[in-house]
């Protein structure tokens, strides 16, 4: 509504996406809300998309742009895998994303986090924000919900976590972002990638931990009104 908005400032994107390395692989996480303006068009979207058997990408920003970029890269990687004769590395996948994001920077509006495992480098995370910068990181956060997580990760991130520690960190972080970002919501989806393969997990909104000023969900107000009053104290 601010008519004096700086049109050159980067657009804040709906979504919370996270990629984290641990000792053995990577954990990718995302919320599941896709919005058209203020309406939630899809409350159970899947923002973690497969590129190859061992490399996945978290998508944020324009749904259309991110889908197209990942579709093209999946196609190129497929051909590359055939030509190479072995699974593509995470670095190659990330670079293909970068190539498309950078050369179309004026038209695309999508921030991506590429994560995967290969036999040469192990688990790796690459952040590719707006503009097409490629940056390898031990962990990456993106999307509008990530604004609320910078302080959290500064404090909570540790090198050399176990698989369970890393996954719990990701679920906690996405859940915290959902609590404060209107553009993020729904369920938390995670994908764990390591030498053994890929595992998808699903954490529905009502199973997540409650944060400040959030209350235990009820079936109805009628249940609260009809519940017995607490016993009087015996002094």
């Amino acid at each position: 509504m601010d008519l004096n908005m700086d049109l050159n400032a980067p657009h804040s994107m709906g979504t919370t996406i996270i990629g984290v390395t641990y000792n053995g692989g990577v954990v990718l996480g995302a919320d599941s809300r896709t919005s058209t303006g203020m309406y939630v068009a899809n409350r159970a979207s899947d923002k973690i998309t497969q590129l190859t058997d061992n490399v996945y990408v978290c998508r944020s920003g324009s749904a259309a742009d991110s889908q197209l970029v990942s579709d093209y890269v999946r196609y190129f990687l497929h051909q590359h895998t055939i030509q190479l004769g072995q699974p593509a590395t995470v670095k190659v996948a990330a670079n293909l994303i970068r190539l498309l994001s950078y050369s179309n920077k004026n038209m695309l509006e999508t921030g991506l986090i590429v994560g995967g495992w290969d036999k040469y480098e192990g688990g790796k995370i690459y952040g590719i924000p707006l503009g097409g910068t490629l940056i390898e990181q031990p962990f990456a956060i993106g999307g509008s919900g990530s604004s609320y997580l910078y302080g959290f990760f500064d404090q909570a991130w540790k090198e050399g976590m176990t698989k369970d520690e890393a996954e719990q960190l990701v679920v906690k972080a996405v859940s915290l972002a959902i609590a404060r970002d209107g553009a993020s919501g729904g369920v938390v989806r995670t994908v764990v990638i390591n030498s053994e393969g890929v595992t998808r997990n699903f954490y529905p909104g009502d199973k997540l931990q409650l944060w400040h000023e959030e209350l235990e969900p009820q079936n109805s107000l009628l249940d609260i009104l009809n519940s017995p009053s607490p016993e009087p104290m015996n002094i």
Binding site: S32, D46, R180, D181, V187, H212, S220, L221
Partner: protein
């Protein structure tokens, strides 16, 4: 502080007053319906700051006098200003000490004039209001928008509630709903809003106004359902879709 006066001078001297150009802290939908004993109204407790869900304990429904209940969506500071205006109105009415008191119809009319006159001065109170009440057995439920559009009906909603709640109410509302049925119907509307409105939060209150008076429930949260099998792996058959 630099003045935000626009270039054209048709709007007159504005150096002293502040006008609401755009809302800052906003509340989302309010939903209300008539039932057997009076009015039931529901609103969540969120105050959004743009897309941030900044405040989670905002009471957006307040009693007005003995017979009315006001719910508001939109700019919270403007709602607080409206409450001040209504305070004066009720006080003035009480000072007559004549046994009469302003009913919901009168308060609704006052609010309509207030909103419309501000709109004419290009300085609106950025709210959508729901005014409900009961006096001498007569139930009343009305709404006023920020531009002064007003009407009364058996069930009303503001904001996203217009698009998501009103169709449900049209289908399922009937005369002489019991309290339990009324609450369940409102909760059904609020749950849909929770799924589909970006600015909704899962913490709401339901207020009731009857001949006896106004009560507002403690804040509580609704259970939500995510266990559809289609939600678990939506892209299995179409890798790369949403």
């Amino acid at each position: 502080m630099a003045s935000k006066q626009p270039e054209n001078s048709l709007l007159g001297p504005e150096a002293d007053s502040q006008r609401t150009l755009y809302p800052n802290v906003t509340g989302t939908s309010v939903v209300a319906l008539k039932y057997k004993d009076g009015i039931l109204m529901a609103a969540d407790m969120g105050g959004s700051y743009g897309s941030t869900l900044r405040y989670k304990n905002v009471e957006r429904m307040k009693a007005i006098g003995k017979h009315s209940l006001l719910g508001a969506s939109g700019e919270i500071s403007d709602f607080q200003e409206i409450l001040r205006y209504l305070d004066d109105l009720i006080l003035y009415d009480n000072m007559w000490d004549d046994g009469n008191s302003l009913g919901p119809k009168e308060v609704h009319n006052y609010l309509t004039r207030l909103m419309y006159n501000r709109r004419n001065k290009f300085n609106p109170l950025w709210n959508s209001l729901v005014l409900g009440g009961i006096k001498n057995g007569e139930k009343y439920l009305g709404t006023v928008s920020m531009i002064g559009v007003n009407f009364e009906d058996d069930h009303v909603a503001t904001g996203f509630g217009n698009h998501l709640a009103r169709p449900i109410l049209r289908q399922e509302w009937h005369e002489n709903l019991s309290f339990e049925d009324g609450v369940r119907l409102l909760e059904k509307c609020m749950r849909v809003l929770l799924y589909r409105d970006r600015s909704a939060i899962n913490k709401l209150q339901i207020a009731k106004i009857t001949e006896e008076g106004m009560t507002i429930s403690q804040p509580y949260s609704l259970k939500t359902y995510w266990e559809f099998s289609a939600f678990e792996n939506p892209t299995q058959g179409a890798v790369g879709s949403w």
